[in-house]
């Protein structure tokens, strides 16, 4: 579904990503793991058109993403939830969800999607008219996911979904992520939380200092002792 080949990203003279390649097939969860500063977020932002791509290609459902304006990617079904939640604190919960269905394609089924989202996240329904700034960390993450779902994505990208959340909440979030995959939406996630990611992911890549170090299925990487040693501290 999403195919990235030899992606290179640089901030002016400083190159951060050196020839990254990966694939996200349909109906799967793919994780990109790696330590801080490895270039994971940079890769995602470049794919989504928020950072200039120095070289390489990225395509979604066969169509190239390079040079495409970000909002059109959302229209095509590629949605990303950035780090630190994707919700707007100056809007209410309901307004955030309404905004989530901004693209024409998503707007047509806005009412039904909103009902589905409220079903999946009853806590949000209870806080409909509250400002998003008053929500707890976990609730805000749920709102971000709910808002992303309003856009009716075919592939959902999550940047560090577990960041700053309590373990119980993290479990809930990953349940939701698996549920999303089961409903036919592919997931690409960037994570530092190795264990949870490997448990849920169908396939994973390890990014180190801007290039791919290793890849494999969840169980394969879990078994790989080098991986365990390198990232056990995280």
């Amino acid at each position: 579904m999403l195919r990235v080949d030899g992606l290179e990203v640089a901030y002016g003279d400083l190159q951060v990503v050196w020839g990254v390649s990966f694939v996200v097939p349909e109906d799967s969860i793919v994780a990109i793991l790696g330590p801080n500063g490895a270039g994971k977020t940079t890769t995602l932002l470049a794919i989504m058109g928020l950072l200039p791509v120095k070289a390489g290609s990225a395509s979604f459902k066969g169509n190239s993403l390079i040079g495409l304006p970000t909002h059109q990617m959302v229209e095509r079904g590629l949605v990303m939830i950035p780090e630190e939640r994707g919700a707007f604190t100056s809007l209410s919960v309901e307004e955030n969800l309404e905004l989530g269905a901004y693209t024409p394609r998503a707007r047509t089924s806005r009412t039904e999607t909103m009902e589905e989202v409220y079903d999946t996240f009853p806590r949000l329904a209870a806080r409909k008219s509250q400002s998003a700034g008053t929500l707890s960390g976990g609730e805000r993450q749920m709102l971000a996911i709910g808002k992303a779902l309003m856009a009716r994505p075919e592939l959902l990208i999550l940047d560090e979904p577990s960041l700053g959340l309590a373990p119980i909440i993290v479990e809930q979030i990953f349940d939701v992520i698996r549920d999303i995959r089961d409903r036919g939406v592919s997931v690409l996630m960037v994570e530092q939380h190795l264990e949870m990611a490997l448990e849920s992911a169908d396939y994973a890549y390890i990014l180190e200092m801007g290039s791919m170090a290793t890849e494999g299925t969840g169980p394969e990487l879990e078994a790989d002792t080098r991986v365990r040693e390198a990232y056990l501290s995280l």
């Binding site: 989504m48 058109g49 928020l50 304006p69 970000t70 909002h71 959302v74 229209e75 949605v79 990303m80 939830i81 950035p82 994707g86 707007f88 604190t89 100056s90 809007l91 307004e95 309404e98 905004l99 989530g100 901004y102 693209t103 998503a106 808002k147 856009a151």
Partner: protein, 293 residues
């Protein structure tokens, strides 16, 4: 003495409404695009001239021509954005503010010089049949034209508030104000939001200009004076906030007016300046604003 003070209060409120209207556009442009356009006052000036010439050459009452001026300056705002400010928005926010300040500074001189060349440096006022009419409420005289200005200002603020809180586009505007990358990831066409927000801002300045040409007077050099007032109001209300702008404007108008009674009208600007510096020193985020990114 009481009569003088009461009259000052009324004048202060009336001119304050105008300050608020001018500030509305500036706040919109800054809030959404994070661009500080100090040539905002020049857009007011151009709007005033548009009204004036529509009146002089076609006999159009300025209230009738106001929607036309709005549309015309909306178009001009679109052009200004596409030709100039679009490039300014290509940089990240920090540089953007500084660059837009400098660049619009240059724009001030360009527009002023063009105005002098085409309109001459003479002061102009629109004098309609009702220009000198005033309501008399007790000891106080309320010029009808300036009162209408206040009404327009309040209406514009309400309309803008409605746009922001009740429409889909308004939500997109607020989202873009908060964080444009997040807005883009939500599917918002940020470039288009910028364009429209800037154009609305220019159009708002223009109708303020129409009102100024009726209730006060216009000349090529009035721009910076109004921009300054608008800046003060925006800071008072909180840089980045769209709420409470008219109120802040009226507050400024009142303070200026009352201080002038005491100090003399020549020191009006100094009063405004001191108020400005005081607010910035103690409450840089204004009365309503939150700390913005």
């Amino acid at each position: 003495m009481t009569q003088l003070i009461l009259q000052s209060v009324v004048s202060g409120i009336l001119v304050g409404g105008m300050y608020g209207l001018v500030a509305l556009g500036l706040a919109l442009a800054f809030g959404v695009l994070k661009v500080l356009d100090v040539a905002h006052g020049e857009l007011l000036m151009l709007g005033g001239y548009a009204s004036f010439f529509a009146f002089t050459f076609w006999g159009l009452d300025p209230f009738v021509s106001m929607p036309l001026v709005f549309v015309a300056m909306f178009g001009f705002g679109v052009i200004l954005y596409l030709v100039l400010f679009r490039y300014v928005t290509r940089t990240e926010i920090h540089t953007r503010i500084k660059n837009s300040l400098l660049i619009s500074f240059g724009l001030v001189l360009v527009l002023q010089a063009l105005a002098v060349r085409f309109f001459t440096a003479d002061e102009r006022t629109i004098s309609t049949a009702y220009s000198l009419e005033a309501l008399t409420i007790g000891p106080v005289r309320v010029p009808v034209v300036r009162l209408a200005g206040l009404v327009v200002a309040v209406s514009a603020a309400l309309a803008l508030e409605w746009l922001l809180s009740r429409t889909r586009f308004g939500r997109a505007l607020r989202a873009t104000s908060e964080d444009w990358t997040r807005a883009a990831l939500t599917g918002v066409n940020v470039r288009r939001v910028y364009l429209i927000a800037f154009a609305i801002s220019a159009a708002l300045a223009a109708i303020a200009g129409s009102l100024v040409s009726m209730g006060y007077s216009i000349s090529p050099s009035i721009g910076l004076g109004w921009t300054l007032k608008a800046l003060i109001v925006v800071v008072l209300a909180g840089l980045g906030s769209m709420r409470g702008i008219i109120v802040a404007g009226i507050f400024l108008g009142l303070v200026e007016s009352l201080a002038s009674v005491w100090l003399g009208g020549q020191y009006r600007e100094v009063v405004a300046l001191v108020l400005f510096l005081v607010i910035l020193s103690f409450r840089p985020h204004g009365f309503y604003g939150r700390a913005h990114a």
